[in-house]
């Protein structure tokens, strides 16, 4: 039992944050505090996504082929740039680029490396290299960047609404708002 929990330790803070946030949204009568709870709830989901992108032993998903390329001068810059262009597309690009950069660094078979970079015909050793490098999964981070923007927009609209509610009602407590509406329905307008 303990093993199962410890293996999934990353979910513990997420669950705690998630439940705290949701509880605050439900329990408080203050409109601003409710938005705080809502943000907490959303943020816990960001964490959930981020943790699933982690690969044990994985490097940050950044190519270092470009640096090698710069050292090498003309040829190197060429395939460094090509490597960047390819990077977003699919994993195989990493391997080629890395291998090409590596070869250039050792100062041997430069022409061979340039050929690698230009037409991406990858030999057996390049493919071998690709399998050795382990990267973390960058996709969840990208998703969460979008989700953070959504969260910020929601919070901004929510706070703007609270400001307007305070101008119109003079209170931001649920009880006060309900009482004001109730009085108007029953006492005032008729």
């Amino acid at each position: 039992m303990l093993d199962i929990i410890l293996e999934r330790f990353n979910y513990i803070p997420i669950i705690i944050l998630m439940m705290t946030g949701l509880y605050v949204v439900i329990a408080t009568g203050n409109l601003v505090k409710r938005l705080v709870g809502l943000s907490l709830f959303q943020t816990s989901v960001f964490l959930l996504y981020i943790t699933i992108g982690k690969v044990f032993g994985g490097q940050p998903p950044i190519l270092d082929g470009a640096h090698h390329g710069d050292d090498e001068g003309g040829h190197g810059a060429g395939y460094g740039a090509a490597g960047y262009g390819e990077a977003g597309d699919h994993g195989e690009g990493h391997g080629d680029d890395y291998a090409a950069g590596d070869a250039g660094d050792h100062g041997e078979a430069v022409a061979d490396a340039a050929e690698h970079a230009s037409d991406y015909a990858h030999g057996a050793d390049a493919a071998h290299h690709a399998s050795e490098v382990l990267y973390s999964n960058p996709l969840p981070h990208v998703l969460i960047l979008t989700a953070i923007v959504v969260g910020v927009a929601t919070l901004a609209v929510g706070l703007a609404l609270v400001v307007r509610i305070r101008e119109a009602y003079g209170t931001i407590e649920d009880d006060g708002l309900n009482a004001a509406d109730y009085n108007r329905e029953t006492g005032g307008g008729e």
């Binding site: 949701l22 949204v25 938005l35 709830f41 998703l143 609404l161 307007r164 509610i165 009602y169 509406d181």
Partner: protein, 507 residues
């Protein structure tokens, strides 16, 4: 439908799926820059016409040539974002496009009354963002993209609902409550998508469906299913999750209510169908269980509870809002049958309901223009002073009940046939009984409109009033559609059948 498919030159037609979302998004920025409300409206009008045109073109292309897969930015799915249009979302796309167009016609006179002049251009800008978001949810084939578009439409919806504050400050609290619940719903949805991503490593919905089919289901996908159902259920105002809806509809500007009632919940319901039928599959045991024990049961409960609540409402728009939740119950029941026929009936009701509610809220808006109608009792005698509007109101109201000679009868007929085919006698009884409840609340409004004496002001009977022509056109068209499609149901039936078949995966 061939003629629709061939309206555009091939180069433009190829990009129509993307243009449908891009045009309103760009136009939203343009509308925000407009110096006055009229110019803002003109931008919205041009945009809505273009969107309706492109949406109909896409529908025509899908019905003639089958599935469209548009690769955003040229990236191959499942790595890139795919816009994937089959008959199911093509129908929804056309519905949103056409209803958006009709509602914008109605917006000019209605918003002139509801919204302060200096805010009108910005209001139209927010409306266009909503439209883009709704279309995006409908057309996207990527699960996370659906979340983003869902939030684009929702966040701008909160702002345009809050614009009703000029008439009634309760619009602010209604918008706030919708924001809280809508965000919880969206967050639940994104948790569900996260679980699906954990289980399958993909975000493309068609790809997820394939992977799930190969590797089977486990606890993670079941959790994903639960989160997605609750999240989208909140957005679609499925019965126990509908509490945000009545106030939001009652206090939003008239135009916003007419637009949201005929599109927003429909789009969320579409997303639900997409996940239930295409991503998960009704053959999977836990999905089938949820159909019978959650969707069908809650649908029937909604039909009764919310119809009862509607009967006791005094605010006319709140009454129709509760009725909307009850009508979502009909769609849930159709979906819960889990058969092609049931889903088809549910989708037919979805289309028809948007025709009825659009006309009803527009008629209420027309009444409100002249008499500031909010409560049912304010409707008294308006049949004498505004007979044309009152007639449209009556036609759409009867359609809501499901009286023969209106489309409402069609969809209830199909629902009953589907229930009989499934052997659900209790569902037939529930459908008929809840239609009687609908007769009570609609009848109460219609009787008030026609039977009572014309409204008088200081002893002077009000002279006949005419609603502006821009109200008559969309309202009249919708009321006419309510009758026309009863006599010529083949078009809508064909659409819903194609959509149901597409949802079930058999093209």
């Amino acid at each position: 439908m061939e003629f629709l498919a061939n309206l555009l030159p091939a180069g433009l037609a190829h990009h129509a799926p993307a243009l449908v979302i891009v045009i309103p998004l760009v136009a939203a920025a343009v509308a925000a820059l407009m110096p006055n409300g009229r110019a803002g409206w003109a931008v919205a009008m041009v945009t809505a016409s273009l969107v309706a045109f492109f949406a109909l073109t896409v529908l025509g292309m899908v019905l003639t040539d089958g599935l469209i897969s548009y690769h955003m930015g040229g990236w191959e799915p499942p790595y890139g974002i795919e816009l994937r249009v089959d008959a199911l979302n093509a129908v929804l796309l056309a519905l949103v496009g056409v209803m958006g167009f009709l509602c914008v016609l109605f917006a000019l006179p209605s918003c002139a009354d509801d919204i302060e002049e200096d805010k009108r251009a910005l209001f139209y800008s927010a409306f266009l963002v909503t439209l883009a978001g709704l279309l995006g949810v409908t057309i996207s084939g990527d699960a996370f993209n659906v979340f983003v578009f869902l939030e684009i439409s929702s966040i701008s919806t909160y702002t345009i609902i809050a614009m009703g504050a000029g008439k009634d400050r309760r619009a602010l609290t209604a918008a706030y409550n919708y924001l809280i619940l809508g965000t919880i719903g969206a967050t639940f949805f994104v948790i569900g998508v996260g679980f699906l991503y954990m289980a399958t490593g993909s975000l493309n919905m068609a790809d997820i469906a394939q992977i799930l089919q190969q590797q089977g289901h486990n606890r993670v996908t079941q959790a994903a299913f639960a989160f997605i159902v609750v999240g989208l259920g909140l957005k679609a105002a499925m019965f126990p999750l509908h509490v945000w809806l009545p106030n939001a509809y009652a206090f939003a500007p008239n135009f916003v209510t007419a637009f949201l009632a005929s599109t927003a919940t429909k789009v969320a319901f579409y997303a639900l169908i997409r996940f239930l039928f295409s991503v998960f599959h009704p053959d999977v045991a836990f999905v089938e269980l949820s159909f019978t024990w959650i969707f069908a049961v809650l649908g029937v409960v909604a039909m009764f509870v919310c119809s009862f609540q509607a009967i006791f409402q005094t605010d006319a728009r709140r009454l129709l809002a509760y009725s909307s939740v009850a009508q979502v119950g009909y769609m849930m029941l159709g979906l819960g049958m889990g058969t092609v026929l049931g889903l088809q009936a549910g989708l037919l009701h979805l289309i028809n309901h948007s025709l009825m509610k659009g006309a009803l809220f527009m008629a209420l808006g027309a009444f409100a223009l002249h008499y500031g109608v909010r409560h049912v009792r304010d409707l008294g005698g308006l049949g004498r002073t505004m007979p044309a509007t009152a007639t449209a109101f009556t036609v759409a109201g009867l359609s809501l009940v499901g009286v023969p000679l209106t489309v409402g009868f069609d969809s209830k007929w199909y629902l009953i046939i589907a229930a009989l085919e499934r052997g659900w006698w209790w569902a037939v009884a529930a459908l008929i009984l809840s239609s009687l409840l609908a007769l009570i609340y609609v009848g109460r409004m219609i009787m008030t409109v026609w039977m009572e004496a014309a409204p008088a002001h200081r002893g002077q009977v009000s002279p006949p009033r005419r609603a502006p022509i821009m109200v008559y056109i969309p309202m009249g068209l919708l009321a006419f559609a309510n009758i026309y499609f009863f006599f010529d149901a083949s078009f809508l039936v064909m659409l819903s059948e194609a959509a149901a078949n597409a949802a079930m995966g058999g093209r």
